[in-house]
Amino acid sequence: MSKELQKNNIFKVIGASSLGTLIEWYDFYIFGSLATIIGAQLFPADAGASALINTLAIFAAGFIVRPFGALVFGRLGDLIGRKYTFLLTLVLMGGSTFLIGLIPSYSSIGYAAPILVLILRLVQGLALGGEYGGAATYVAEHAPANKRGFFTSWIQTTATGGLFLSLGVIVLTKNLIGASAFADWGWRIPFLLSILLVGVSIYIRLKMHESPMFTKLKTEGKVSKNPLKESFNNKTNFKMVLLALFGATMGQGVIWYTGQFYAQSFIENTCKVDFNDSRYILLWAIAFATPFFVIFGSWSDKVGRKWIMLLGMLLGILFYRPIYQVFLDDTDFTKVTQQDIQAISDPVVTRTLMDGTRDSLISTSANVTLLSGSSYQRIQSHIKFEEKGKTAAVQPDQFKDKKLSTVVFWKFVALVFFQILLVTMVYGPIAAFLVELFPTKIRYTSMSLPYHVGNGVFGGLVPFIATLIASFSGSTPLSGLWYPIGIASLSFIIGAVYLSNKKPAETEA
């Protein structure tokens, strides 16, 4: 095969694998982004038993099922080949996403609606668990040993790309058809669109050939007979699975979710920044940072994977708290003085009777624009007691829907960009790192499990555990960061002490 043909072939391999993985992530994220709307349409308003199903569908499938998908499809991939397995995961993911878009509402089919959502959500989680390992293994097994980091880093861009695409499609659809139509039926469009993307990807993937390394194993009759047993019952291999989990993927998972999810959630929910602003900050930061997946992946071919990944973790450990402190400080409008204010809108006063009494809550809301360009909604409330002898109780002012000045907006973009840059450091080289840790015949199984436990479980739990820690008595808004900092520190220590910094030239092809 000529060099030019080989080059074309590898780009076709990367393109087809990345497109499929991008769609898988897109499918996975749109559910999370639209969870509230889906909940209103497909779950009854009175909660009850469906609240449990809702919890399971949204909370559990995100991280429980992925490791099981890794085991099921990893085993299949090592038994029958990479190509057909990750083709199957694409069909399952695309099919279940499309079907979620078709489920009639709760008002039409009752409890069948949330149960169907749960089943399809579990299928999504399983498929995602199988897809990533397959795509990374497939690309790595086509790449020359000294370019594995560069080639697999394209696969690494797809998780962030899928998030970007899902946010983009949702914002675009919502703007095109309007918020109320979107909440009513328009939310189905991003799900239904998935089938087109999947159709194209299946067409491309069907034309691909099996990985050369797996084909060689098959020809030589060396394919594993029991990949699960050989992966986890063989001490030599199992100790590498544990090392990959605790020394790399666990830290990578928390850095990934903190930079891309917790940052946006913190800006929106804790800092009370406007819905659109908080999303635009993330979109810009992702757009600027995404090329660095390839830069760090490629660089890891030259200097080794270990220290790039560990440096990403270390910078997260050191800088998370100062960065989030800036988010808090720059959105703190409690000390605004008259000199800072440019305009205040006419106040809107609302009076709400409190349950079972004649007392009422009186709220005065006004939009305040500052000279700096920032604006926010200020709500001043007090409780008016009708009983004689009781004086009105004043409640602390609330500040909502904060819109940032241009300077602060771009400062926030820069800070989120920095966090995503750390994501690219830990995530860019990790596919090549995992592939190089395990032998071809059990690679799909062996690398998928630590990846999905690290990324799905440790990373997926960042929002839950961070919120939990922030609810402890005596905690501050920054306390939730101790979870990603703690896990990243643990992973950094294990990685620094136990991992070796193998350069590609030192590994076999």
């Binding site: 909660a47 009850g48 609240a51 449990l52 919890t55 399971l56 909370f59 559990a60 991280f63 429980i64 050989e230 063989n234 001490k235 030599t236 291999n237 199992f238 100790k239 590498m240 544990l242 090392l243 989990l245 605790f246 592939v435 190089e436 840790l437 395990f438 032998p439 071809t440 015949k441 059990i442 690679r443 436990v453 479980v457 739990l461 839950f464 939990l468 220590i493 294990i494 002490v497 136990y498 991992l499 070796s500 193998k502 030192e506 590994t507 076999e508």
Partner: protein, 85 residues
């Protein structure tokens, strides 16, 4: 470095069960604090899932610590094809 690898092994072996005990205590407290009804069941379900997932992971940490203590990580395979017996 090999001494440090072995020494830390004992720490990982202790950290595994210690983290699970902490999680059990948290689960007990948070489920107890949740309001009766759906909220309590949901909180119990979430914590049940977390414990279900983290118990095997912490067992993995103990095994990792045991291997480290025994010096299994003193010499890592130089290439991926060496990783199996």
């Amino acid at each position: 470095m090999n001494g440090l690898k072995k020494g830390l092994g004992l720490f990982w072996m202790i950290l595994g069960p210690a983290s699970i005990i902490c999680m059990f205590l948290q689960a007990y407290e948070k489920v107890g604090l949740a309001a009766e009804g759906v909220q309590k069941t949901n909180t119990a379900l979430q914590w049940g899932i977390i414990l279900f997932i983290f118990i095997p992971i912490s067992a993995g940490l103990v095994i990792f610590g045991y291997y480290a203590l025994k010096g299994e990580y003193s010499q890592l395979p130089s290439g991926s094809e060496e990783s199996t017996d």
